[in-house]
């Protein structure tokens, strides 16, 4: 099976062609084109075919991680959409949670709602708490509303009503009328995208969906059109926020908002791939780029997911997604001293323009990258295989100016920047772990992205972690994750019952219905029945609690057993449990996975003599000053070799810094595994 994976990043689009039998046939890195990402992809695919001397019909699958939805959300580029709501909730979307994001700011800026008020129209109709109809939909009013929205230039309509998650009939009827009156308009109802309790997150989710779909659907169509025109007959798979892929046609419409984490998901799934080849079940993936770092968690060889996402404008999105925490700590993060004399790093970033001072562009502010250059952790002459010139003098000047304000030498200030950035990143990782009750001592750290391996060992030490993995191809890591991801469909049915008096027949039917639906979808996707896996889950909570715990179950399993695991899981996650208290079952879930071919990464066969290429002076806090550290080229490492820190390992797309008291070795798949030792 010949498969192509494409991961669109901010600067480059990474493309890999893989034969499914431990052989990478071609790799291409092409510049991204933020305005028309599909063009960069076309270039990349053509390059791959050229290198491998293959025809489009030789390809069995194309998989793609895209940042188009991520960027649309960050930049607030949404389609002009309207919303039709049932009685009394026209303004739910604008009122939101009534919580301010900046409680100390008397002059906070009023953000525009996703759908303006004059495009939100209320119609008579109302359901009660368990989904019973109190008032029927006024169909004439709906028709009028659709016409009014058309006149106002809406190209899409969201339909939203209270308790639709318990009974979607009213919303479905409204949507039907919209399709009838305005077949050209895109329409979606809230229960169809998020059949779960709490009106604001559900309304916001459907509002994001109708804002994104009219832009994303054409993008996916263009991509498919390109493949068709070139003669590709294979499926096109898109990475979703839940870490699974889905066919392009499934990602249109109701799943448009599932692509918000399509880009960052690749790195986490790359981490999941590592669990299979590097022997770690618990991993924290850290993808450090120029302006930010994405943190992901893999626990028990499964990528951690959650339900509530908060977009950058404070809008909640309700869907199963990889738990990825983004913090403003990247290579370009600027170091500064606040009014009280405290050193701060970020969240402002010099980005690519003006860039860190050491790149000699127009940037003069000291950044994290400048600090690494000053300390000799980054090459002080050239990086990126010599493509980018580094100006040590400019880095020293910028960092030195900061040091003066703090009464520190250039090196001390540089070390400070690195340590403060590490501490901020460590704090974010701790919060992510705390949310789920994880013990970080049981985890290894995966250093991904161009800057991840610069501070990974220090970070791991700070967090009490024992090992760091620098993956085989850090620059291709996300693309490998996309390649390895399975098809994934998350299905849910809301229920409400006491766990001590469960309606087992209803639960059994729900499990069955959801499983059948998942199987049918996977079959339609072309997933072979042999690789299909269905995971069944129940959401339980203590009576009075709103946040539920998702427990994996076997259909038909005795509720007493399920409850035992619920109490255990609650205790592990939250630090307490109350086995005597009343519990409720609030949702039945199923996750369907289909396997289109896993990645079997080739063993590394070409090695070097393992000798360092050179040495340079690198400042290590543990050593209290400069140390002459050997500088290895990764390509020249040998299989039996162990490298003791202090040392530097360079390669085209990343630099691995090994402080004292750690040891690196290569595994058979070319991952660098660094083991931390206790400090003397």
């Amino acid at each position: 099976m010949r498969r192509i994976a494409i991961d669109t990043g901010g600067t480059f689009t990474d493309c890999v062609l893989y034969d499914g039998h431990e052989k990478v046939l071609a790799v291409a890195k092409v510049p991204s084109q933020p305005k028309s990402p599909d063009r960069a992809i076309a270039n990349g695919i053509n390059r791959l075919l050229e290198i491998a001397k293959l025809k489009p019909t030789d390809i069995d699958q194309v998989a793609h991680g895209t940042t188009i939805a991520t960027n649309a959300v960050i930049q607030g580029r949404y389609a002009r959409a309207g919303m039709i709501t049932t009685q009394g909730c026209r303004d739910t979307l604008e009122i939101g949670s009534q919580i301010r994001t900046q409680p100390y700011n008397l002059r906070a800026e009023q953000k525009k709602p996703l759908i303006p008020r004059d495009l939100r129209i209320e119609v008579p109709g109302r359901l009660a708490a368990m989904g019973e109809e109190i008032e029927a939909i006024d169909e004439a009013a709906v028709r009028q509303a659709v016409k009014a929205l058309k006149d106002k230039g809406a190209e899409a309509v969201a339909v939203a009503g209270l308790f639709s998650f318990a009974n979607p009939a009213q919303e479905e009827r409204v949507a039907e009328i919209v399709r009838e009156v305005a077949p050209e308009m895109y329409v979606m109802s809230s229960a169809a995208v998020s059949p779960e309790v709490r009106e604001y997150p559900r309304f916001a989710t459907v509002a994001v969906n109708v804002g994104l779909a009219p832009h994303l659907d054409p993008y996916l169509s263009r991509l498919r059109g390109f493949l068709d025109a070139e003669g590709f007959t294979c499926p096109l798979l898109i990475m979703q926020s839940n870490g699974g892929v889905a066919t392009d046609s499934r990602c249109k419409g109701d799943r448009a908002h599932h692509l918000v984490l399509s880009g960052p998901a690749g790195c986490v799934m790359g981490g999941l791939h590592l669990t299979k080849v590097a022997g770690f079940d618990n991993l924290v993936t850290v993808d450090v780029g120029g302006t930010s770092a994405d943190i992901g968690m893999i626990v028990g060889a499964e990528a951690r997911t959650r339900m509530e996402m908060l977009l950058s404008n404070g809008v909640p999105l309700h869907l199963r997604h990889l738990e990825i925490e983004t913090i403003g700590a990247g290579g370009g993060s600027i170091a500064w001293v606040d009014e009280g004399g405290a050193l701060q790093v970020g969240p402002q970033s010099a980005g690519a323009d003006p860039g860190p001072a050491c790149f000699g562009l127009t940037g003069t502010e000291p950044t994290l990258t400048d600090a690494h250059v000053v300390l000799g952790r980054l090459n002080q002459d050239r990086i990126l295989g010599g493509e980018l010139k580094v100006h040590l003098d400019l880095a020293r000047k910028a960092v030195g100016a900061l040091g003066e304000k703090l009464g520190l030498s250039v090196e001390e200030a540089a070390l400070g920047i690195v340590r403060v950035a590490d501490a901020n990143m460590a704090g974010a990782i701790r919060s992510v772990a705390a949310r789920n009750g994880d013990d970080l001592r049981e985890f290894a750290l995966v250093a991904a992205g161009g800057a991840g391996a610069l501070n990974a060992v220090d970070l791991a030490r700070d967090l009490g972690m024992k090992a760091v993995v620098v993956p085989m191809r850090p620059g291709l890591f996300s693309a490998i994750g996309v390649l390895d991801a399975r098809i994934r469909h998350d299905l849910v049915q809301s229920v409400l019952m006491f766990a001590d008096k469960p309606d087992m027949a209803l639960i059994g039917r729900a499990h069955e219905t959801l499983a059948e639906k998942a199987r049918a979808m996977l079959a339609a996707d072309g997933a072979p029945a042999k690789g299909v896996e269905i995971s069944h889950q129940l959401d339980l909570r203590y009576l009075g609690q709103e946040y539920a715990v998702t427990v994996t179950v076997t259909p038909g399993e005795a509720m007493a057993e399920v409850l035992k695991r619920f109490h255990e899981l609650h205790d592990r996650t939250y630090g307490h449990s109350a086995p005597g208290e009343a519990t409720e079952i609030v949702a039945v879930r199923a996750v369907g996975y289909g396997q289109l071919g896993a990645v079997h990464w080739p063993d590394r066969t070409v090695f070097g003599d393992g000798r360092p290429q050179t040495t340079r002076q690198v400042w290590f806090a543990e050593a209290g000053g400069y140390v002459t550290a050997p500088v290895y080229q990764r390509a020249a490492l040998s299989p039996s070799q162990t490298i003791r820190g202090p040392a530097i390992i360079e390669q085209l797309d990343t630099t691995t810094v090994m402080p004292p008291a750690c040891t690196a070795r290569l595994d058979s798949k070319d991952n660098i595994i660094i083991t931390l030792e206790a400090l003397a």
Binding site: Q87, G88, C89, D91, E94, I95, G96, S97, Q98, I99, R100, P103, Y104, L106, R107, A108, E109, Q110, P116, R117, D118, A129, L162, F163, V197, R198, E199, Y200, D338, E339, G340, G341, A342, L343, Q344, G407, E412, L415, G416, R419, V420, A423, N424, A426, G427, A428, R430, A434, R435, L496, L543, G544, Q545, E546, Y547, H570, Y574, G575, H576, E581
Partner: protein
């Protein structure tokens, strides 16, 4: 104030790294507390706070999403330490407290303090505070505008041990269980608080082991000093000045006359003095502000007025001198009732903002909705028939400012809690939410208008015992305009009985029955600048969106 770091022990980098770790610790505690709490008031409304203290009781890190709790735990610490000599405190102990006359805010805010020991020596504290839905007393939800004394406000803990050397003190839990309306909720929340405090102790243990006691303690002191320097620098940037302002509560909770809060602010160099001399004496009802609650309001208003960003430590408080006359409504004598202190605290903050707006009109905002229209309901769960307590409070409009419109439909100033989702309300309580909508023409007009208020209608489906209350129903005390802006609309509440009778509500407690409806309209923020100067496209947009009426567009904004 020290000028430089103690060079032998800490450098600015170590201080920054330890500061970051302490911030991470309170965030981590907050995550653990919120996710595992039982009642919506903590989980949905985020009415809690976590902090780390130095051994001598100064805050060195506190989360900040609820300004009403700013620095609040700091007032409890000296009392705890006085009542519990340090030699009686052991590793694994944990204290519980909530007494407003022992540094607490009001009785529903329960504090947990856990000491951190290194080698037998007390070196720091892990602490948190959470608002419990009910701690007993006369009214469901405990808070009561008509309470005559603290003895109507539920159980009060002096600082007693709820854990002793790592073991739970069962009597305390049983005592709580027998004195509150919904014990399951209290015990669940308390367990969450205890787990969060333990997590804090673990993290601090780790930090002390890593850095050593001397370095940690020096770094903690320096973090506090840094915040003091930052605060002073920001105060010193503004011109010196002196201003007075008065703000009024509609009444004292018992139907009396308006109650005046009078304040004089003096900015000199890098110091701010806030003097409440002349403020009304303590009220007969339950809306007095404990000293702690009044101080939190002052800290918030000063931080907000001088544009201090994040970071709450003891250092932020040092440049502020607060004069709270004893026996006044902002520092009442025992046993005055204080459970509904929030209304007076909001008005206190607003009065201070008004005073500062006279000194720095372009750096502040116009008046903001401080009515805090709320209800607490004792009722039966629609499915289990167990007694449950529902509570909700509604935001309104923020004041406009020289750069932009005020925020619409937000909880304001000291408060930052979420609105109760209708779908949660209707599934857990016999109360239907008929509507939650923005209210036209509530925002004060201006070149930059205020934010809008909202209307929410609660429709009772069963007999319920309800405490309703709101402030700022009196148009004279509506959110004030600034620099030529108009004032916002005040709040308006009414009960529409199933039999057709309608009664206005300001502060009432009564039984309601099936079919009765409470209509709550909150106020809009004051406007900034002359409405005639408002951008014409913005006026047309407001008109198009139904945020202002055609009459207002024409008459107030002069749209032709």
């Amino acid at each position: 104030m020290k000028d430089a770091v103690n060079p032998g022990l800490t450098d600015p980098i170590t201080v920054a790294v330890i500061g970051s770790a302490l911030r991470a610790t309170v965030n981590e505690m907050g995550e653990a507390l919120r996710r595992s709490s039982h009642s919506p008031i903590i989980r949905e409304m985020l009415d809690y706070s976590c902090a780390v203290f130095t051994a001598k009781g100064d805050i060195v890190s506190q989360d900040e999403f609820l300004p009403a709790l700013l620095g609040a735990m700091a007032f409890a610490m000296p009392v705890l330490l006085k009542e519990n000599p340090v030699e009686t405190i052991r590793p694994g102990d944990m204290f519980i407290g909530n007494d407003p006359y022992r540094g607490g805010t009001h009785t529903p805010d329960i504090h947990i303090f856990a000491p951190v020991f290194v080698g037998g020596k007390l070196v720091a504290w892990s602490a948190n505070l959470a608002h419990h839905a009910d701690v007993g007393g006369t009214n469901p939800g405990t808070e009561g505008f008509a309470n005559r004394s603290i003895f109507e406000e539920g159980i009060r803990f002096p600082y007693v041990k709820v854990f002793e050397e790592g073991r739970a003190v069962d009597q305390v839990f049983r005592y709580i269980e027998n004195n509150v309306r919904d014990p399951q909720s209290n015990l669940g929340d308390l367990r969450a608080q205890i787990a969060a405090a333990k997590l804090g102790v673990q993290r601090l243990d780790g930090l002390f082991a890593k850095y050593g006691v001397a370095t940690m303690q020096a770094a903690m002191e320096e973090r506090i000093d840094q915040d003091e320097r930052k605060m002073r620098a920001l105060i010193a940037q503004r011109p010196d000045g002196e201003a007075t302002a008065s703000g009024f509560l509609d009444n004292d909770g018992l139907g009396g006359d308006p109650v005046e809060i009078r304040v004089k602010v003096t900015v000199r160099g890098d110091n701010v003095t806030v003097d409440f001399t002349g403020t009304a004496p303590q009220m007969a009802g339950g809306m007095n502000c404990s000293r702690t609650a009044a101080s939190s309001a002052v800290i918030f208003a000063v931080k907000a007025a001088f544009g201090v960003g994040t970071g709450q430590t003891a250092g932020c408080v040092r440049p502020i001198t607060i004069i709270l006359p004893e026996g006044s409504m902002v520092n009442p004598r025992f046993p005055a009732a204080v459970s509904l202190r929030h209304l007076a605290a909001q008005r206190t903050a607003d009065t201070l903002i008004l005073a500062f707006s006279k000194l720095y009109p372009d750096a502040i905002s116009a008046g903001t909705f401080v009515g805090f229209s709320s209800l607490a309901v004792e009722c039966r769960h629609p499915r289990t028939r167990q007694v449950v307590i529902m509570s909700d409070d509604l935001g309104g409009g923020f004041g406009g400012n020289s750069d932009g419109d005020g925020l619409t439909a937000v909880d304001t100033y000291l408060s930052n809690v979420g609105i109760l989702p209708a779908e949660i309300c209707e599934r857990q309580y016999p109360i239907r939410i008929d509507e939650t909508v923005l209210l036209e023409d509530t925002a004060g007009a201006g070149a930059q208008r205020g934010g809008l208020g909202i209307r929410r209608i609660y429709h009772f489906l069963d007999t319920c015992d309800v405490v309703f209350y709101t402030e700022q129903t009196d148009a004279r005390f509506a959110p004030w305009g600034l620099a030529g802006g108009k004032s916002g609309k005040p709040a308006l509440l009414r009960l529409e009985r199933a039999d057709g009778t309608v009664m206005p509500i300001t502060k009432n407690r009564m039984l309601v029955g099936k079919g009765d409806r409470l209509v709550t309209c909150t106020g809009g923020g004051g406007g900034y600048g002359d409405p005639k100067q408002r951008d014409r496209e913005a006026v047309r947009e407001d008109l198009r969106e139904g945020k202002i009426s055609a009459a207002a567009a024409r008459d107030v904004y002069g749209l032709v």
